[in-house]
Amino acid sequence: MNALTTSAAGLRRAARDHIRTPRLETPFHERLAALSEVNDWYSWAGYKAPHSLFDGELEYFAIRSTAALFDISPMVKYRITGPDAERYLNRLTLRDVRKLAVGRVQYTAWCDDHGHVLDDGTLFRLGEADFRLCCQERHLPWLLDSAFGFSVDIREETEEIAGLALQGPTSYAVLRDAGFAGVEALKPFAVATFPHEGGEVTISRTGFTGDLGYELFVPRAKALSLWDRLWSAGELHAIRAIGYGALNQARIEAGFIVANTDFVTAEGALRADRERMPDEIGLDWLVDPDKPNFNGRRAILDARRNQTLRYILVGLEIEGNIPAEHAIVYHRKKHEAGIVTAGIWSPTAKRNIAIASLERPYGSKFTEDLWVEIYAMRELQYQKLMKRAKIVPRPIVKLARRTATPPGLK
């Protein structure tokens, strides 16, 4: 009896032990920590992730000029398999999964019954009945509840699968020199497996930078050897490890949105008017009304028909060079029209750019005479700037090398 309680208490203590590690370390942490000169960490879904490793600006230029290595292991990953996997995902997500061939990747999003976006992410078709879904937030209860009536197996593999993004003009050269033969055949949004250390690494031509780039997934145990393989091959191609600050600049240029930055996910929103439909965050093109029923279909189509969509997401070009992050957008300098959710000085476009959420009819009907009010801090005093803003199509930075196949070497 006593032995039993002791061991039960021991088990309980062991189960609580995670609190001793408030920040988890990714499979690449050892390498990142060794390279970190500035010790600038933040929490990404509970993992210790670098905001910057040595110099934000140089890290950004690694993406645009050479090759940047970014640890995406904290990204939430689900493995969905089984005879009904395609049908299940077709009901779950907005795009037609029947059109997603094996060896291809879809950028997609999924909604609740009210058509409010729960998250966006990438769906990898690894086999006829084998998918990986990657996203920002955790959704296991939703995914499991969605499985009622389907023959599918759903497993979270965030912990066991390590991920790396290798992005930039020399990224292909790095992979080639690392010995991944055949990688040149990968078109954008293609995915294939390649041998690594007696196992396999999954390489897809995807990324979050709008540049030539790849994402690599490997079992946790092979993470460091993959890193070392890329690192040594990349030396002559000026490979650099980067943090999120640099990636964020590249993604704003590419016009990509981030869940809970550019929109609030439906399950996380506390206020009823913070939820967003796909059409309200620039994802209307994902919605496929012709495919079989999917979550949110009726609500989205009703909102379109009844014209009850309230918001719109736009790209902005703003005069001057002061980033407009979280600035209020005005129409005719006086009517509040929305908010800038992300803004930077774009080193590649050489312009002040932003992504903004506007309340219709601003941004839909009224697209001219928009202004942003920027509070620039000047030695403990705000300087209020009213700057003209122009709606511009996304991506704001468009690079031919992103899609060229076979890819260039620099």
């Binding site: 509840d145 009622f148 009536g149 079989p292 029923n293 979550n295 949110g296 009726r298």
Partner: protein, 518 residues
């Protein structure tokens, strides 16, 4: 092949009421019934050679007069209100005459006055709620003019009797029946009766919060034009299902029995018909599901056609029955101690006290049946002699608590529970045991199998505060229309709920005919 404007799944009385109203509204209607005969839970059956049972229900206390008139239900008799007698085993009975005890025998004058005051209050309060029964519940976010007028009517109805009554209504609405009974009454048998009536068919004990709602629900019903009244039509309860069938056929409804539906056809959120279990497809722009909402959405409609959130909420509908139905074949009319011969054709409730009902509920919480159950009894063959051979008698009892999920399993539990029930009967009607020709006990599991009733729950889902009105069976399907265009709910699982009222079916049909937007 003939084409139909509407397919009704399930030939229970609600399905037939819906079909008849639709047919009278000019629709060509086909009713599909899985069993080999119509009637649903009111379908009669021979449970022993020469002895017939009328099905689950053994008394009429809420058949809606408007529904009956509108669909042309020709049901003779049933003008005489039947008494209720409470027996506590002491031989001293309390008998309630008229509509829910307009007069009472067996208690002192002051207790009679106290009961009259409580009865008046409850009937007034139930009258406020009654306004909501004959129309779809208000749809949150799309409140209509009709909804506002019902709400205003309810408000005015409250104020009519002064601010004090309004306040008392709001105070009592979610109370438990035990506290209310204690406020007014002293007699244990009367309190036991109220406790029994409030909880029959619901997974609550009299001391559970909101248990008064069950009593309100009963008192929203009328029989022979009297609130709280109870009757048995000429020809007995077994004449009800055939009357619904006749009304439907007269209106031009086609009824097919032994015709189980395999699937409801739906594509991109729009229903278009059904596929029979034998593979035959029947199309129609309107499909009315007059069967359990969970069967409808978890088994007949492809879950891919519903949203994840909706499926989640349908799965969460609580629908585990608590009542066992006993049919006894007797070789003579039983003699209950204390029961006056004039009250024999009425309802007999075996309950000593509120505490007994509460104590009977306790084990049900933990998946066990009551070792000292409470029950209501009728003697159906007294009203319709053809139910039993000459000289014989049938006894019908609803016994609680008998939880659907019995921990020990009903295979082992049933003989043990039957023994307890028969012993209870023997105590109240000494010698009855020797007159038993056959005993047929249906546990909720048996009821589920016999009547295709998930959980063996005749309300098609708990009749509790969280599963009523705008939440019956669940928010997105509470207005008869469902998230699937062209698919409607019309069973007891829809508003207002179970019992032989015809209202869920009739309301659904009226909603469809009004062109009510889904």
């Amino acid at each position: 092949m003939t084409s139909f404007d509407a397919i009704v799944i399930g030939a229970g009385h609600n399905g037939l009421a819906a079909a008849t109203r639709l047919a009278k509204g000019g629709r060509k209607v086909l009713v599909l019934e899985a069993a080999n005969g119509p009637g649903g839970a009111a379908r009669g059956r021979e449970f022993s050679p020469g002895f017939r049972s009328a099905g689950l229900a053994h008394i009429v206390n809420r058949l809606d007069a408007d529904v009956a008139r509108d669909i042309g239900l020709d049901l003779a008799g049933g003008e005489t209100l039947l008494p209720t007698t409470v027996l506590d085993g002491s031989g001293k009975a309390v008998t309630l005459h008229g509509a829910y005890g307009e007069s009472i025998d067996g208690v002192p004058a002051e207790e009679q006055a106290a009961f009259a005051a409580l009865r008046k209050k409850l009937i007034f309060q139930a009258g406020i709620l009654k306004r909501f029964l004959r129309r779809p519940p208000p749809q949150i976010g799309a409140i209509s003019l009709g909804d506002l007028s019902t709400l205003a009517g309810a408000g005015l109805g409250l104020l009519r009797k002064g601010r004090g009554e309004g306040r008392d209504f709001l105070r009592m609405l979610l109370m438990n029946v035990a506290d209310v009974a204690d406020e007014y009454l002293a007699d244990d048998r009367l309190k036991g009766l109220l406790a029994f009536d409030a909880t029959l068919g619901i997974h609550l004990g009299p001391r559970s919060p909101t248990s008064l709602l069950g009593l309100y629900y009963r008192l929203t019903g009328e029989a022979a034009g009297k609130t709280g009244g109870q009757v048995v039509p000429a020809g007995g309860m077994a004449s009800i299902a055939p009357a619904f069938v006749r009304a439907a056929e007269k209106a031009g409804v086609t009824i097919r029995c032994s015709a189980p539906v395999g699937r409801i056809l739906a594509d991109r959120g729009k229903a278009s018909g059904v596929v029979m279990r034998d593979g035959i497809e029947i199309t129609a722009p309107v499909v009315v599901s007059a069967i359990h909402p969970q069967t409808t959405f978890l088994h007949l409609v492809d879950p891919a056609e519903s949203g994840t959130g909706f499926v989640r909420s349908v799965k969460n509908v609580r629908s585990h029955g608590n009542v066992a139905k006993l049919d006894l074949a007797l070789d003579r009319v039983p003699d209950f101690a204390g029961l006056s011969p004039e009250a024999r054709n009425g309802r007999i409730v075996l309950a000593r006290s509120m505490e007994q009902v509460e104590t009977a509920f306790n084990p049900a919480k933990y998946g066990e049946f009551s070792p000292d159950p409470v029950m209501e009894i009728t003697l159906p063959s007294l009203a319709e002699s053809s139910l039993a051979p000459s000289g014989g008698c049938t006894l019908s009892a609803l016994v609680q608590y008998a939880p659907y999920r019995l921990k020990a399993g009903w295979e082992a539990g049933k003989p043990a529970f039957l023994k307890i029930v028969l012993e209870t009967l023997e105590r109240h009607a000494p010698g009855i045991g020797r007159t038993i020709v056959a005993a047929d006990l249906m546990t909720p599991v048996d009821i589920e199998a016999e009547y295709n009733l998930p959980g063996g729950h005749w309300h098609h889902g708990e009749l509790q505060a969280d599963q009523l009105l705008v939440n019956r069976p669940t928010g997105a399907a509470s207005g008869y229309a469902t998230p699937i265009e062209g698919l409607y709910l019309a069973s007891a699982g829809a508003h207002p709920g179970g019992g032989i009222s015809g209202l869920p079916g009739w309301n659904a049909a009226r909603h469809i005919l009004s062109g009510g937007k889904p």
